[in-house]
């Protein structure tokens, strides 16, 4: 059995990620992210750049390349960090059942 995210024990890493979505992370946050980023279904969330260094949306890459990538129309992100935070929140909810009702920036 691989590690399962514990919403109580792992809650401090939510704040660590919010403060630094891309960068050096603690071993505890690394473990959370490794669990989150491993999807054996083959489905892959991706970040699609609409305007370089200005606009991104999320996309969904299916397991079979014969199927099209599906783009989300909203939200439109103005930074990669904002997109990372959105995906982190979605995955946290999917894995723990809990919502993180906190913006990226205070």
């Amino acid at each position: 059995m691989v590690y399962r995210i514990d919403p109580d024990k792992d809650r401090p890493y939510v704040e660590e990620f919010r403060r630094c979505p891309i960068g050096a992370h603690s071993p505890g946050l690394m473990r959370v992210l490794t669990v989150m980023r491993n999807d054996p279904s083959g489905h892959q969330v991706i970040l699609v750049c609409r305007k370089p260094f200005a606009e991104w949306v999320l996309g969904h890459m299916p397991p079979d390349r014969a199927d099209p990538i599906v783009l989300e129309q909203a939200p439109v992100f103005t930074s990669r960090e904002a997109a990372e935070w959105e995906v982190f929140c979605r995955r946290w909810r999917a894995l723990t059942g809990e919502s993180i009702n906190q913006p990226l920036h205070d």
Partner: protein
């Protein structure tokens, strides 16, 4: 999505020569084109921004355009095989299907696509079939009811007697497994006579009415044969025996021995009629066959064990597009990086309607008497560009997000690549059947060989890797006003040492990873004879490659034995088919990168970069000039690639691997993230402290050393180094150190050797 793309017919062109560009439009029927000098291909607003310099030429103008498509998939064609539908014949082979579940694959056929008639042998959902269609409109399909297993060898036989309609289909596994039913034998009679009108004999593909070759087979075919008459399995046994059955010799129509001439695109027919085949789109050769035992790993030493060719429906050598624009390089055009800028309207959030088709103008091939060239050459790593051509692991390999430590970013070019797998993969990708892509060509659109391309693995920030990362160096040289010649890996492979001989200094790109033996020998000879090498990147001289001796613009790699391997070559398939050399890491053939440039690969990580801390050797009188004007203890804690000068892929000094013992460690990087990880070949037992936060060996060593012939080596040891050059208006310690080294290296005074 990308609405316009293309490729040149060469990456390196000399003044006075002509280069042809092949352009495809996804919409509209016209495009504009102009030649530009590429200075800086990074549009990150934190840096200098895009810089292209228009070069007015007769290539400027508006052109008619259209969509051009790619017909991928390898096959063999033998046009001299006579029509086989007139008398009884039998097709034998031993096959290793790698995507047996795919529908409607062709093993062999003589099929007229216009009338949809002829005969065809193939695999559908793992089952061997025979399809026959007559000129009178009748058709029949017979198929076994037992599915072949993936990556298992099967002896197959398909026989047909048109006179009686009798047929036989035999599918027998070489190895049997309990509870697996995968053998079948069918005998029967068809009421259909195949059309005998002329149609080429094709293996692993079938002609289509639109002129394409489709319905390809994925997998290996070993020892295909055509015999006159209706035969059974016992005949195959006798033909496979040694010595072959002489009494059957008279029945042989064709018997292809794929072990012959593996460095060519010729499939040799050892039968009496010599119906040699032509292999299209480079199926993999030097492949072990059904009878490989492991006793010999070199196809040259036991060719009878290497009778297979591996075909893929997604193999591609030459897209074969029509020429859209030609450009004859003026004789006075300076050597350097250029591109054909093509545009077909304004871009927006959903579509990019322009592209930059990159190429390089090399120095003239012959020098005029008295002509002087700059003492500096920039060696563009075009072999590495080809190795990474259309690098698609973000599409084909799940888990890439884990490796990157961030979301995988797709630009319009990546979305286009996803939708067009026929563009072909890089040497990092796998074919649809899971086998590694071991050949990569530049005769196709290469979407990541272009300024403005931002990569999914180029580090946070600008996210550049390979060609576009090298534009950071183009820009710095331009900003500093330094004259140089630009030469390419392909030039070096073809011309050897003589290409380098006139230059005092050679600067590399950020990631010169792939080298042929010819390239390696030339560079080593130049260094040993006094050359001054500025190694401006990381993970250089890592993989050995081969260029094809006849086909232009294609390289081969075998990911053998060790190293960072996104796929792993099969045991027994470590030798390069293009030239018979043992492939894999240069380190594994006794030539580690440390021997060449003083340092060697130690770690990689693609999230963020770090900085160097000055080391005691920086104050050694032998190297103090390198730090003239640099009093800082911390070097490169800034930059466009991951925010630091030490990142992406790192090298370090390793005396035990052949680094010259006189190399000085000027500075070493530190503070790396846990995602900067020690490379595989650096450990035998997997340690728990692989990451840069816990392993002190994970570091880049800024290094310098003199050579006995008065030359010198300088190594930045980091792919991210050049991303820091432009920081603060080019006034920073990375830029200053690079400048100091370049100025001293350009000084003809020999470096002291005692």
């Amino acid at each position: 999505m990308l609405k316009i793309t293309g490729y040149p017919d060469r990456y390196s062109v000399a003044p006075g020569e002509t280069i042809a560009f092949k352009i495809s439009l996804e919409e509209g029927d016209r495009f504009d084109a102009r030649i530009v000098r590429v200075v800086h291909g990074d549009c990150n607003p934190a840096g200098p921004g895009l810089k292209f310099r228009h070069v007015p030429s007769n290539a400027d103008g508006s052109y008619l355009g259209r969509a051009q498509r790619i017909d991928a998939g390898s096959f063999m064609r033998a046009d001299t095989v006579p029509p086989l539908g007139t008398t009884a014949f039998t097709f034998f082979a031993v096959i290793w299907p790698t995507l047996p579940a795919r529908a409607d694959q062709t093993l062999a056929c003589q099929w007229n696509p216009r009338s949809n008639t002829g005969w065809r042998v193939g695999v559908d959902a793992g089952r061997l079939f025979l399809a026959v269609a007559g000129a009178d409109g009748t058709a029949a399909l017979v198929m076994t009811d037992a599915a072949m297993q993936r990556r298992q060898w099967y002896r197959i036989l398909v026989a047909l007697d048109p006179a009686t309609g009798r047929y036989r289909i035999d599918q027998q596994p070489i190895r049997h497994y309990a509870h697996v039913v995968d053998s079948a034998l069918l005998d029967g009679t068809l009421a259909v006579r195949p059309d005998t009108s002329a149609a080429p004999f094709v293996l692993a593909g079938c002609p289509s009415a639109d002129g394409r070759m489709d319905r390809h087979f994925d997998g290996k075919i070993d020892g295909p044969m055509l015999l006159a008459g209706l035969h059974d399995r016992s005949v195959h046994d006798r033909l496979l025996g040694v010595p072959a059955a002489d009494d059957l010799a008279g029945a042989i129509i064709a018997r292809w021995d794929f072990a012959r001439l593996p460095d060519t695109i010729i499939a040799v027919d050892i039968g009496p009629s010599r119906h040699h085949g032509t292999l299209v789109h480079l199926p993999a050769r030097g492949m072990k066959g059904w009878n490989w035992t492991g006793e010999e790993h070199d196809f040259k030493r036991k060719p009878e064990h290497y009778g297979a060719i591996h075909f893929h429906h997604d193999d591609l050598y030459d897209a074969g597009w029509d020429t859209s624009v030609v450009f004859t390089v003026p004789v006075d055009l300076p050597s350097g990086p250029y591109a054909l800028h093509v545009s077909a309207g304004p871009s927006d959030e959903t579509a990019t309607r322009e592209d930059y088709i990159a190429f390089f103008v090399r120095p003239p091939r012959a020098r005029k008497p008295g002509e002087t060239r700059p003492p500096l050459a920039l060696l563009a790593p075009t072999a590495a560009y080809m190795a990474y051509a259309n690098h698609g692991e973000h599409i084909t390999a799940r888990g890439a997000e884990l490796q990157m430590g961030r979301l995988l970013t797709f630009g319009h070019a990546d979305l286009y690549l996803y939708a067009h797998p026929e563009l072909g993969g890089s040497l990092y990708d796998t074919h649809a059947d899971g086998s590694g892509v071991c050949y990569s060509s530049r005769l196709r659109p290469v979407l990541n060989f272009s300024p403005r391309y931002h990569s999914w693995l180029g580090g946070h920030g600008s996210a550049l890797y390979q060609y576009n990362a090298d534009t950071h160096l183009f820009d710095w040289l331009d900003h500093q006003g330094i004259a140089y010649d630009l030469i390419t890996d392909e030039d070096l492979h073809e011309q050897g040492y003589d290409l380098l001989a006139p230059y005092r200094v050679v600067m590399t790109g950020t990631h010169p990873e792939y080298h042929s033996t010819s390239m390696w020998d030339a560079m080593k000879a130049w260094i040993d004879r006094g050359g001054r090498l500025m190694y401006m990147g990381g993970n250089g001289w890592y993989w050995r490659i081969a260029f094809h001796s006849e086909l232009p613009g294609v390289i081969e790699l075998r990911r053998a034995e060790d190293g960072i391997r996104t796929w792993i070559a099969e045991p027994g398939e470590y030798y390069q088919s293009f030239n018979g050399e043992y492939g894999g890491l240069w380190r594994r053939v006794g030539r580690p990168p440390n021997m060449m440039c003083g340092v060697g690969f130690i770690a990689q990580g693609f999230d963020i970069s770090s900085y160097y801390r000055r080391a005691p050797d920086a104050d050694n009188p032998r190297a103090a000039w390198i730090f003239a004007g640099v009093a800082d203890q911390i070097i490169g804690d800034f930059g466009l690639i991951g925010g630091g000068a030490a990142g992406i892929e790192l090298d370090c000094l390793s005396p035990d691997l052949g680094a010259p013992p006189n190399m000085l460690r000027l500075a070493s990087s530190e503070g790396h993230s846990p995602m900067m990880i020690l490379v595989n070949e650096e450990f035998g037992v997997v340690p728990p402290n692989l990451g840069g936060d816990l392993n002190p060996r994970v570091r880049a060593d800024l290094a310098f050393g003199e050579t006995p012939s008065g030359g010198a080596l300088f190594a930045t040891s980091s792919i991210a180094w050049c991303g820091s050059l432009s920081h603060n208006g080019y006034e920073n310690n990375v830029s200053r150190i690079t400048w100091n080294v370049l100025q001293r290296f350009l000084d003809p005074a020999p470096f002291p050797v005692r």
